[in-house]
């Protein structure tokens, strides 16, 4: 099947709802209208109103009730319409979802998925462009997965649904429909916690995830640099080994993300490299990020995102250091 990310996400839910009748899908506008991005289209027709539900405008209750359902043997998939509206429910993720297993010494668990489109570049209003993955990665007990391709979106979402722990599944909405790829029919999984190598090279390691993965690949292409390009796919847990192995080979690294620089996940990657592979480095690790400012409204939005020339500049600098 040739699919976009949004179709792959939709397909993953169709598969898992058919595979496991404990799976439920709920959130704002997911049933009757198929979700504002149409990620849940067709699910209600196929699986019925008891398993596919429109909820009130209540982020706290959407995430909180998913935890309750999950502790009761269900496999909830909750949609938060835009990640910018997740903050009210952050409390539920931090206070309950991420620590119920730890708190009850394994007696209760919360195998649930919170799906949410994130990131900038779609001409949206305020609070529709956030990339707060760094903040979520900081919550112990919560997994944070971010696919960047249709193939991974489907395989990783199925893994997330089957995962015994809570997973925040962040979908790069800017590339929801802009790329297509062959996606296998039927059920398959892509592991959480394993990075993917998108290109192999010797000169430099470039690391990214989500929508920025595509700007990064374009930059590497434009420069014609012999780069190892790593798509992190999960930022929690982090696949340290793939990163370190690549650094030991190339000795140089650039991290690219669209979230604000300060406290962004790039900092964590750089710290990991310093901890484990400092002696292999031949240049300081560089990063290209969003600015330490909210994403501007649509008239200036595109100035915010790390576009290929910005990424090229950083790679060239690192390579020639």
């Amino acid at each position: 099947m040739n699919a976009t990310i949004i179709q792959a996400v939709n397909d993953a839910m169709h598969e898992e709802m058919a595979n496991d009748d404990r799976t439920l899908v709920f959130g704002q506008d997911v049933a009757e209208s198929g979700g504002v991005f149409r990620a849940t289209e067709g699910l209600k027709d196929e699986f019925g109103a008891e398993r596919v539900l429109d909820t009130p405008l209540s982020e706290i209750a959407i995430v909180g009730s998913a935890i309750g359902l999950a502790t009761h043997g269900f496999r909830p998939i909750a949609e938060i319409q835009f990640s910018g509206f997740l903050p009210p429910a952050f409390d539920q993720l931090v206070t309950n979802a991420s620590r119920i297993r730890w708190r009850t010494r394994g007696e209760l668990t919360a195998p649930m998925v919170v799906r949410t489109p994130y990131g900038a570049g779609v001409r949206a209003l305020e609070h529709h462009s956030e990339s707060l993955e760094g903040a979520y990665s900081h919550v112990p007990g919560l997994k944070v997965a971010i696919p960047s391709t249709p193939h991974d979106a489907k395989g990783m979402l199925i893994s997330a649904i089957r995962d015994p722990d809570p997973v925040l599944f962040m979908e790069p909405k800017r590339v929801y429909r802009s790329l297509r790829e062959d996606v296998p029919e039927g059920t398959y999984t892509e592991p959480l916690g394993e990075a993917a190598i998108r290109r192999e090279g010797e000169a430099v390691t470039v690391i990214s995830w989500g929508a920025m993965m595509h700007n990064t690949l374009e930059a590497v292409e434009n420069l014609g640099v012999d780069a190892d390009v790593i798509d992190l796919r999960s930022i929690s847990p982090l696949d340290r080994e793939t990163i370190l192995e690549s650094i030991r080979k190339t000795g140089r690294c650039v991290v690219v993300h669209e979230a604000a620089k300060t406290g962004g996940f790039g900092g964590e990657i750089i710290a990991t490299i310093n901890d484990e592979a400092l002696m292999f480095l031949e240049a300081p690790v560089n990063r290209v990020t969003g600015f330490d400012a909210p994403v501007p409204l649509l008239s200036m939005e595109d100035y915010y995102l790390p576009h290929p020339p910005r990424i090229e500049e950083a790679i060239a600098e690192t390579v020639s250091y």
Binding site: D29, P56, L57, E126, L297, S299, M300
Partner: protein, 385 residues
């Protein structure tokens, strides 16, 4: 021995336990002009003829604004917009009951009330073009639109608290939808307002839908107004398509709020357009329903009143229409003439003083744009701001 009950007896217990349910609460929907055109004469507000005309004008302005803004959006000259079509009586009637000293916390559909309250239409249009400067609301007591639904309710309570502490004779007025009444922020904000007894009016435009979700699935409560009781504040339910009734309701609520009794007003109306220009309402509601509400058009309802009370003849509808059309055109021209901004705008106003790291990020970006002009190729053309 373990004496704890293992199961509950199925024999009903015959003791009198009182309960209260929503069927115990009867809430009248306040009306002045009934849908059939009949008028409750003693409820007609004490306005002069110019004011009655003004009210009509503000409703018409809302209609024209929504029609034309929607067209501009389709031509790519505005970003996504939210229309107030069908809600003109609620929007204009509530705005007309406020004082310019009151502080409005808008939601996003209420163009005419914001213009009435001192916002320039140019800035409103610029806002929908994604220009931050437009949220400055220069010279008008208006907060930025609350895009995160319900998030403004506690803030409006706090601002009202401040106004009370400062001994001011004005209120905060928060616009919200029925969807917002399901959020945590709404509940906490209402509770706070009740406990503190602040001068705040929470105005819920119950337009029957929150994107695709009908009111019946939004809450198990029969009305929004009755929710007020849970917080110990007053609730009013009003026909939101009856501009005079809305004016009465908000005037009354405002008066009570000034006395330290916050009020939740529910205006029962209907959103006749799409949720926003990115929404397709045919996916979740029927044409018949839309038709039914078209029959209850707020402008027609008010026009009937004006005719019945011999005020219509003195109103030159064509002149009013021409006037508001011109106002809109001028606002578009002014928005078009708005100067392009620089990248500094991304960094501005985040702190009172630009911290060194932000200064550094700005400088670096500026240099890069100079060195790599092809960067602009990656920067799409946005609606002209």
């Amino acid at each position: 021995m373990d004496n704890s009950p293992q199961s509950i007896s199925s024999t009903p217990i015959d003791v009198a336990v009182d309960s209260v349910s929503q069927s115990d609460v009867e809430i009248e929907t306040h009306r002045v002009i009934h849908p059939d055109g009949s008028i409750v004469a003693d409820r007609v507000p004490d306005l002069d003829d110019d004011e009655f005309r003004d009210l009509y004008r503000w409703m018409l302005l809302q209609r024209v604004y929504d029609d034309r803004a929607t067209k501009l959006q389709r031509r790519g000259r505005l970003g996504t917009i939210a229309s107030g079509r069908g809600q003109e009586a609620s929007i204009a009637g509530s705005g007309y009951a406020l004082s310019r000293d009151d502080w409005v916390f808008p939601y996003g559909r209420e163009a005419s009330m914001l213009v009435m309250h001192g916002l320039s239409m140019r800035d409103l249009l610029l806002y929908w073009r994604g220009v931050e400067d437009a949220a400055r609301t220069e010279g008008a007591n208006i907060f930025p639109l609350s895009i995160s639904v319900g998030s403004h309710v506690p803030m409006a309570a706090g601002k009202a608290w401040g106004m009370q502490l400062a001994d001011e004779d004005s209120i905060t007025f928060a616009n919200l939808g029925d969807g917002a009444t399901s959020t945590g922020a709404f509940h906490e904000g209402m509770n706070f307002a009740g406990v503190l007894g602040v001068p705040a009016v929470f105005f819920c435009l119950n337009n029957q839908y929150a994107i695709s979700l009908p009111f019946d699935d939004q809450t198990n409560a029969k009305t929004v107004a009755q929710k007020a009781l849970g917080y110990g504040i007053e609730g009013i339910r009003v026909d939101g398509n009856d501009v005079l009734a809305v004016y009465n309701a908000v005037s009354t609520a405002r008066q009570r709020a000034l006395n330290g009794d916050p009020v939740l007003v529910e205006a029962v109306t209907y959103r006749r357009g799409a949720h926003t220009t990115s929404d397709d309402p045919t996916r979740y509601r029927s044409d018949e329903e839309v038709e039914e509400w078209k029959e209850r058009d707020p402008l027609n309802r008010y026009q009937t009143f004006l005719e019945e009370t011999d005020r219509w003849d003195a109103i030159d509808e064509d002149a009013i229409r021409e006037e508001v059309e011109r106002e809109f055109s001028e606002a578009v021209d002014a928005a078009d003439a708005f100067e392009e901004r620089g990248i500094e705008d991304i960094f501005a106003y985040l702190y009172a003083e630009l911290p060194p790291e932000l200064e550094h990020q700005l400088e670096e970006f500026r240099e890069l744009l100079e060195e790599r002009p092809e960067m602009y190729e990656y920067i799409e053309q946005r609606p002209k701001g």
